[in-house]
């Protein structure tokens, strides 16, 4: 170990570097990355933050400081609470579908049965599509008059479902489409987790007479928990950010039935032209995601 450290401090010309010199060199190497981060993340975030305390909008370039007025208005806006409720429903229901289904598919692929490669490609296909294409495709498929889904239901003598026109079906449609596209992502991470579990504890449990269910319940699931936690965090963050395919699929309708918090933020900024209010909601969304991020960081350290 000592010799390794010595090599690290030693330059190719034989001169040794002091610790502060190494640190300084490290910082120099990081400068381009920091500049990029500053330009595309930190500066816009700073402007967004300061803008959230102003009355700036797209029709007024001379803005005034108005304190927490934008935040107050958002918390008083019934649209915000409706959108929050919709976001929680979509996130919760999507997780309830995606995690078990993703785990089931991961287990199936981990068994490496015949046709696994084909199955894996098929499952991963939706993940490769852009959300806008997904929205357009499902919008056509879910059309009550001439969509392929109701056509299939009709073939089996089942009644047509108004997938996008009924308030409850519309939110279910959003959850189903989100799950169709993103279960593959859950599966992929859980599969990686499953493949990293050492064989010895599983074999030991089997030798001790544990059933397959018991092996999963007491050995595999606890060992998979850190990965699962990361997956849950990522999916919660992603489902809160969900925007593009909802915009295409339902435009937040009928009424505001499927308008989630990200779509509302878009409306504030680009329909109502109230950019400062949109910035304030952006800050609220970021702050609400912070606990998820911290949990994710913690899970990563496990």
């Amino acid at each position: 170990m000592r010799s390794q450290q010595k090599q690290f401090f030693e330059r190719s010309d034989g001169r040794t570097l002091k610790k502060w010199q190494i640190r300084k060199t490290g910082w120099v190497y990081l400068i381009p990355a920091w500049l990029l981060l500053l330009a595309i993340v930190l500066v816009p975030m700073f402007f967004s933050f300061t803008s959230s305390f102003s009355d700036a909008n797209l029709m007024n370039s001379d803005s005034q400081f108005i304190g927490f007025d934008n935040y107050n208005q958002i918390f008083k806006d019934s649209l915000f609470w409706e959108a929050t409720r919709t976001t929680v429903i979509i996130s919760g229901m999507s997780l309830l579908i995606q995690i078990p289904l993703g785990f089931f598919l991961a287990v199936l692929l981990n068994m490496e049965l015949r046709g696994t490669a084909l199955l894996r490609s098929g499952i991963l296909m939706p993940l490769l599509l852009t959300p806008v294409a997904v929205g357009l495709m499902w919008r056509l498929m879910m059309n009550i008059d001439n969509g392929v889904i109701n056509g299939t239901l009709h073939m089996f003598g089942l009644p047509a479902i108004d997938w996008l026109g009924d308030r409850n079906s519309a939110i279910l449609s959003v959850i189903l489409v989100d799950s169709w596209q993103n279960t593959a992502f859950v599966m992929l991470l859980l599969l990686a987790g499953l493949q990293n579990i050492p064989a010895s504890p599983i074999e030991a449990a089997k030798v001790d007479g544990a059933s397959t269910f018991q092996v999963y319940r007491h050995v595999i699931l606890p060992l998979l928990a850190p990965v699962a936690l990361v997956v849950v965090m990522i999916r919660i963050i992603e489902s809160i950010k969900l925007f593009d395919f909802i915009y295409i699929l339902t435009s937040g309708g009928p009424g505001t039935a499927t308008q989630n918090i990200s779509l509302l933020d878009f409306r504030y900024g680009f329909t109502f032209l109230q950019t400062a209010q949109a910035a304030a909601l952006g800050i609220i969304i970021t702050l609400s995601l912070t606990p998820m991020y911290l949990l994710w960081r913690r899970a990563n350290r496990i």
Binding site: N143, D145, R167, T250, G252, F270, T271, F272, L273
Partner: protein, 426 residues
């Protein structure tokens, strides 16, 4: 030195005065000054992808050849185009010299002095001829009495109907909304087709709803500015819209204007209220299975004969540094003489009187005849800076009523409360 006679001196003074006057005139009359003095080599035109934008691009080479001015175009999709323009106007860098925009954005643009007034250009032009437009179309690009946008297209709501279904069922072209509903019910009951279709999607239904409200004698506000979207006229209009749903294809509740057109052109639907701008899709046999059996007529009337007018505007940003060249382009593109050429290149129809009464154009596109009466009774969407939010609030509340989440009166009361608050915003 030759003495200057009194008469000669006087003549010299007159000459100097005349030259001075001409110089002042040349510097003040737009379209004459800078074009002669310093002709810019290029202008940038902001376009929103549409058949009209494609037609403009097709006409550009001819303008470049005639004027020596290069025209660069920038395309931005509709969903983000107006926001991009607003951001550009705020920066005041003169990024664009000509901008295509949708009429509801006239108020947000003009209220922040982002567009140049075109009145002096129009007045000085020998080729534009504003009098070739009927009064509502002359007013179409105005905000607070000044013209900020030229008419790039004229797209009123009109009635599209299937002549084969009408003739089979012995129906007449409806003159009133009651007759329109009656026709729709007869078509639905016959089993031949769905009765009718309009757009009910919350993102756009405000446009159709407002037409019905106007037809039933209502409005957004009364003369004193009080919001009246929950009065009896608005209730009747909303209930009428709801009664149309019963004789529509089921997907009409989620249909926007494009979807309604697709339904009408691909399925059996007897009639549709939609904008004239959809004509190229509706009347093209490649995109419309019943193109040969589709005709157009003015929309039915109710207590009032108002017809909702929509259509593209085109104008010059206030921060453009090449306004004269920009006007030169617009004046050439949309002159009375060149407008038919723009339409030949695929642009949506422009409701000049010389167009809607031109026998050759009417022979090729009979539906254009409808634009004449529709424009005479035309009214554009309200020129309000908060129209985006107002349209959203109408759209979502009306759809709540249409999907039975709430009753008509309760839904409209909620809408009235929201609009009262929104209209107080700057």
């Amino acid at each position: 030195m030759k003495a200057i006679s009194k008469r000669g001196l006087w003549s010299s003074k007159k000459l100097i005065a005349a030259v001075s006057l001409l110089t002042i005139a040349a510097l003040t009359v737009p379209g004459v000054s800078a074009t002669a003095a310093q002709k810019p080599s290029s202008i940038t035109v902001f376009l929103i992808p549409s058949p009209t934008a494609d037609a403009i691009k097709a006409r550009i080479p001819e303008f470049e050849k005639q004027s020596g001015i290069k025209v660069k175009t920038v395309d931005t999709p509709y969903d983000s185009a107006h926001q991009k323009m607003l951001l550009s106007f705020q920066s005041k860098k003169g990024s664009y010299d000509v901008v295509q925009f949708d009429n509801p954005y006239l108020a947000p643009f003009a209220s922040q002095n982002a567009l140049a007034s075109l009145d002096s250009f129009i007045k000085a032009s020998k080729t534009y001829d504003i009098k070739d437009f009927v009064k509502p179309l002359q007013e179409y690009g105005k905000y607070s009495g000044k013209t900020y946008g030229l008419n790039l297209s004229t797209e009123p709501l009109i009635l599209w109907y299937r002549t084969d279904i009408y003739s089979k069922l012995g129906l007449n072209v409806p003159k009133t909304w009651a007759q329109y509903l009656e026709n729709a019910q007869k078509i639905q009951q016959s089993g031949e087709a769905d009765g009718q279709v309009i757009a009910n999607n919350s993102s756009v239904n405000s446009w159709w709803w407002l037409q019905f409200v106007w037809s039933f004698g209502g409005d957004l506000t009364n003369a004193s500015g009080k919001v009246i979207v929950n009065n009896s006229a608005a209730v009747q209009a909303t209930n009428y819209m709801k009664s149309l749903l019963a004789v529509s294809p089921k997907s009409a509740i989620t249909a926007n204007g494009d979807d309604a057109t697709t339904l009408f052109t691909t399925q059996n639907i007897g009639q549709m209220i939609n904008y004239s701008g959809y004509a190229p899709v509706i009347l093209d046999p490649k995109t419309s299975k019943s193109a040969a059996n589709i005709a157009a007529a003015p929309i039915p009337v109710g207590k009032s004969d108002i017809t909702e007018l929509t259509g593209w505007n085109i104008g010059i940003p206030a921060d453009s540094k090449k306004k004269e060249a920009a006007w030169q382009f617009l004046d050439w593109l949309l002159s009375k003489e060149n407008t038919p050429k723009l339409m030949e290149a695929g642009a949506a129809a422009i409701g000049r009187t010389s167009i809607v009464k031109n026998p050759a154009i009417l022979k090729a596109s009979p539906y254009i005849a409808v634009l004449g009466p529709a424009s005479v009774s035309g009214r554009r969407l309200p020129a309000l800076t908060t129209w985006g939010q107002i349209s959203f609030e109408i759209g979502t509340n009306v759809q709540d009523i249409l999907t039975d989440k709430t009753t008509t009166k309760a839904g409209l009361d909620k809408l009235a409360a929201q609009l009262t608050k929104t209209m107080k915003k700057k």
